[in-house]
Every structure is written in structure tokens, then in C-alpha cells.
């Protein structure tokens, strides 16, 4: 039982896009590793274009890898369509960002919730209405809602239905891909509280993908920070947030506003140079070097490999120096 539930090793994902006769190879994910233990919540943070959603899709077999491997419960991804594949589709679930497109507008909520039950033959058909009512109650909705169409529901309500649908088949892992970014602050807090509560009660593992550092901090046991297809830093959430070692993590935390004017005024800002480079033509060596305030020649020559740093791992040649010097000042 020591093996992690999900173990992504050195994932490589390259998209080929053709535009105006020019073929571009977009390196969405490059040698990223991430693991999730049973019942654990792992936060995956990054800005747009970091490859976090692609990595999330690959983690549950919805995105083919161009290199590396994904082990779920110690076994490699089964072939699509095989019996093992069908079992896997029950054991891993995903919730997407946009609650407005997540439910088929031509199906009632009940029909949407029956779909996973039907696909995975969960009990006899006549038990489904009760099961659906139970699921709706579990996520704090009125069981009567089963007869409604999604058009009449608010974003928060729809996202609750999506959570209920993911839970219907009692999965081991749920990938939450930016599940609250389309929602208001108060609704977001409701959804996060709900999923955290369910996670605790049912022991399901979560891979929580978000661009919001505060949100990840609020929910995650462990956190991985991604930039331009690579994992820059990963470790226990408290450690990553309180003693960030990678310059990118530090810059990201320095840029995220804190809802507290006193802390906010004291926050250390590390302004980043330039823009995120083209993922079809990423920088050599360290991907972050073009924007890193500490970049040196070495960073262009050698790709930093993730190395242990305290309880975390950091992919930076100079993290000791950087954290050391700045701790003294």
C-alpha cells in the first residue's frame, strides 16, 4: 500500500499544430512527474500555458503521452477499450472548469447523473432514482432537481451536479480542473468547502488544478508548481507556500495579492521580466531562465533536475544560494 495511487513519471506531451503551412511542435508537458497518494489532495498550480490541464488529462489517461509513463495503482495505463480501461474510467473521474458546458442541455439532471451509473452498471436500473436523490442530497441540492434541465440552474448548482456525477461511481481519484474559476467568490468557497468535506468523508484522492495560489493553499496537502511544461517545485503545501525555494514559486507568490492590506504592504515582490516564451520554442536549459532575476549562463546550458530540498523538491541549480542570500538580508 506504499505505492502512490497515481504516479506520473517524466511525462512528455507534444502537440503538433499547423498554421499557415508551418508546423509547430508545442511542448505542452516536458518531463513532468507528479504523484498522488490515496486519499490525498495534491494541488497543481501554474499560469495559463503552463501545461497543468494537459498534465491533469494525461494523469487519468485522457491524453496520450509522447514519453514517460502513468501508473495508476501501480499498473500502467490500459489500452483504450480494454476491460481494464473500463474499470479505470470508473475509478478516476474528472470535473471541468466551465459548469455551463459540463452538462448536456438536452438531458435532465437525473439523466446526467444516471449516465455514469448506466455506463458502469452500478446496481439495478430501478435503484438509480434513489441513488440519484442520495447523490443530490450529498452535494447539498434538492432531490427534486433531478427533473430539471441544466438551463435553469446557476453555475454553482451545476458544479455541484458535476461533483455528484463524479461521486456516483465511487472513484478513487477525482481530477478537479479549475473547477471554481468560472464562479463567484462566495460560490467558489461553497464548492471548495463541499469538495474538501467529501474528500475527507469518502477518502477519495484529489488532483486539484488551479491558477489560484490561495485556493490551492486552502485545500491541498501537497503542491506542485508548474511553468512552461515543467514542474518547478513540489512538496508539502505549507512548505512550498511558506518557504518557497524556486525563484518562480517566489515570484508567483510575490505577485499574488493577499486579501490583507497589512501583509500586502509587507509582501516581497519579485517583478518578472518579459513574457512567457513560446511553448513551441522554449528556452534551452531552465525554462524559467528568460524571466528569472537570478539567471546565469549555467541556466541556459544545463536543465536543472528536480532535487530534494527540505521536504520538497526543487528544479533550480542555484536554489541554495538564492534562498540563502535572501534569508540573510
Amino acid at each position: 500500500m506504499n505505492a502512490p495511487l497515481l504516479d506520473v513519471r517524466d511525462a512528455e506531451i507534444v502537440f503538433t499544430a499547423r498554421r499557415g503551412g508551418v508546423t509547430r511542435h508545442i511542448q505542452a508537458v516536458s518531463g513532468a512527474s507528479i504523484s498522488v497518494a490515496r486519499g490525498q489532495t495534491v494541488g497543481l498550480v501554474g499560469e495559463s500555458g503552463s501545461g497543468k490541464s494537459t498534465l491533469g488529462a494525461a494523469a487519468i489517461g485522457l491524453q496520450a503521452l509522447d514519453g514517460g509513463e502513468v501508473l495508476f495503482d501501480g499498473t500502467p495505463m490500459p489500452a483504450e477499450g480494454s476491460p481494464a480501461w473500463r474499470t479505470l474510467r470508473r475509478r478516476v473521474q474528472v470535473i471541468f472548469q466551465d459548469p455551463f458546458s459540463a452538462l448536456n442541455p438536452r438531458q435532465t439532471i437525473g439523466q446526467s447523473l444516471a449516465e455514469p451509473l448506466r455506463l458502469h452498471s452500478m446496481g439495478p436500473r430501478r435503484s438509480w432514482p434513489d441513488r440519484i436523490a442520495e447523490l443530490l442530497e450529498l452535494v447539498g441540492l434538492n432531490p427534486e432537481m433531478a427533473r430539471q434541465y441544466p438551463g435553469t440552474l446557476s453555475g454553482g448548482q451545476r458544479q455541484r451536479v458535476c461533483i455528484a456525477r463524479a461521486l456516483a461511481v465511487e472513484p478513487d481519484l477525482i481530477v478537479c480542473d479549475e473547477i471554481t474559476s468560472a464562479l463567484d467568490v462566495s460560490t467558489q468557497a461553497q464548492i471548495v468547502a463541499l469538495i474538501a468535506d467529501i474528500q475527507k468523508r469518502m477518502g477519495v484522492a484529489l488532483l486539484f488544478i488551479s491558477h489560484d495560489l490561495g485556493l490551492v493553499r486552502a485545500i491541498a496537502d501537497r503542491t506542485a508548481v508548474m511553468y512552461l511544461g515543467r514542474i518547478m517545485e513540489a512538496g508539502p503545501a505549507g512548505e512550498v507556500f511558506e518557504t518557497p525555494r524556486h525563484p518562480y514559486t517566489r515570484a508567483l507568490l510575490g505577485a499574488a495579492p493577499i486579501p490583507d492590506p497589512v501583509l500586502e504592504a509587507r509582501r516581497e515582490r519579485i517583478p518578472l521580466r518579459g513574457e512567457i516564451p513560446d511553448p513551441a520554442d522554449p528556452p534551452s536549459g531552465c525554462r524559467f531562465r528568460t524571466r528569472c532575476p537570478h539567471a546565469r549562463e549555467e541556466c541556459a546550458k544545463r536543465t536543472p533536475l528536480p532535487e530534494p530540498a527540505g521536504g520538497a523538491i526543487v528544479a533550480c541549480h542555484f536554489w541554495r544560494e538564492i534562498t540563502g542570500t535572501e534569508d540573510r538580508s
Binding site: 470508473r90 478516476v92 471541468f96 459548469p99 455551463f100 459540463a102 438531458q107 438551463g151
Partner: protein, 284 residues
Amino acid sequence: MSASAPITTRIGRLVPRSPAGIVLTLLGIGVVLVALFPAWFTPYQPNGINARAILQPPSPANPFGTDELGSDVLARIIYGTRLEIAIAMGSVALAALFAVPAGLLAGYRGKTADWILTLIADSILSFPIVLFAVMVVASMGASVGTLIFVLGIVFIPRIFRLVRGQTQVLVEQGFVRGARAMGAGTFDILLRHILPNILGPVLVIVPQLMAVAILIEAGLSFIGLGVQPPQISWGSLLLVSKNYYVNAIWYPLAVGAVTTLASALLVFAGDLAANAINPDRRSG
């Protein structure tokens, strides 16, 4: 709020509310009744010969006058509706029969199937409709069947492109990605998730295509390559009435006006339906 309600519900919601919708719906039902039971709407026979009433101007008994054989023009128009509807609906149905599955396949599978199907569709599309029709009629001979076949073929790419495009959009939607993540098979997804959501947009272009069918039928029949007299369609009546612009202007005028009105109303109905499934265009 209503932005993502089921499309049929939204159309259904609109029709009873907007006066134009009600009128068009009733008119549509009326036209179908005329096509099915022409005798209910006129006391005359379409081919009744009356030597004493040749080319009579409009009168209370013959609101659109009479033709060169003394038949009531209105009666002929009414009896022509049946063939008109058969051609318009038949060709669209024929096209949908092939275009919808092909569009689903191309939009969902992509890759080789997509580019072969798209290539075929683009090729058909690059033939001017009338020329394509002339070519096929020259080869197969003019008949109602040929007309339906030709129109069916030229409508295929138009429906295909729509279905393919809609499918490509839907495939990226959360509910389709979600269904795939849950292990739903291709057939399941196409049938339960994609098909029900493209029916609305397809229905919206049907009236527009029917209007095109009516106009092409009129044009081809006029040059003698469509419906052949004595079969009655509006196009064949336009052909026959060609000789009476000088002596009996009401005859071609009535037939042409009915044809124009019918296709205009179909276009208008299509616009209304498009607004109904895409309300943001109106409300801003």
C-alpha cells in the same frame, strides 16, 4: 438563463409568443394541408379545359384569372403546391440522410475520414448549383426524380458543413469530454450527446434550403430541365405562362408572386428560428 435550455424548448417557447412565429406556423400548416388536400381549397380541377374561358382576367370566380386552356390559375397553383413541397422536402431529407452521419463522422473522428469527406463536400460545393443540375439533367433526363436527386446532392455539403462544425464544437464541450472520461463509447456519445444538440441548428437551415429548392425548381423548370408539363409545379406554370406576359399579365404575375412569397417566408422563418436558438444576437 435561457441561453443553454434545450433548443426545441427554446423554439417552442418562441413560437407561441411572437406574433410572426404564430402566423408562420399556421401558414406552414396551411401550406401542408393545401399540398395534401388541394380539393378542399378550390372547386376547380387543375386540368379542366374550358374553351369559353381562355385567358380570362381575374374575377370573383377566378381570383387569378384563367390560363390558356381555360383552367383556373389559382387552382393550378394550389395543385402545384404538392409537387413543390415534395421536391423541397424530399431533397432536404435526402441530403440530411447522407450529410448528418457524414458530418458526425468527420467532426467527431477527424483525421483521414474528415479530410476525405470535407474534400468531397468542397468539390460538390464548387459546382454552381444550376450548372450541376444542368449537367445531371442532360445525362439522366428531366424528371421530378432527377430534380430531387440533384438538389439532394447539392444540399449535402451545406448540411454536412454545419453538422461537422457543430460536432467539432460539441466535442470540446465539457459534457462530451466528461462522457468520454466516464468511459462512454463513440456511438453512445454521438447518439446521446451530439445528435440531440445538433438537431436544432440543422432544423434552422431547413427552411433556407427549401427556399433554395423552390427557386432552383422554378429556374430549371423554366428552361425546360425541371418538372415537365403536364405535371404541375410552380416552375412548370412559370414556363407555360412565359408566353402571356403581353396578353394575360396576371397569369405569370400570380405564379411568380406566389413563388416569391413562399421562398421569402421560408427565409424569414429560418431567420426567426435562428434567432430563437441564438437569442444573444438579438438582446445584446
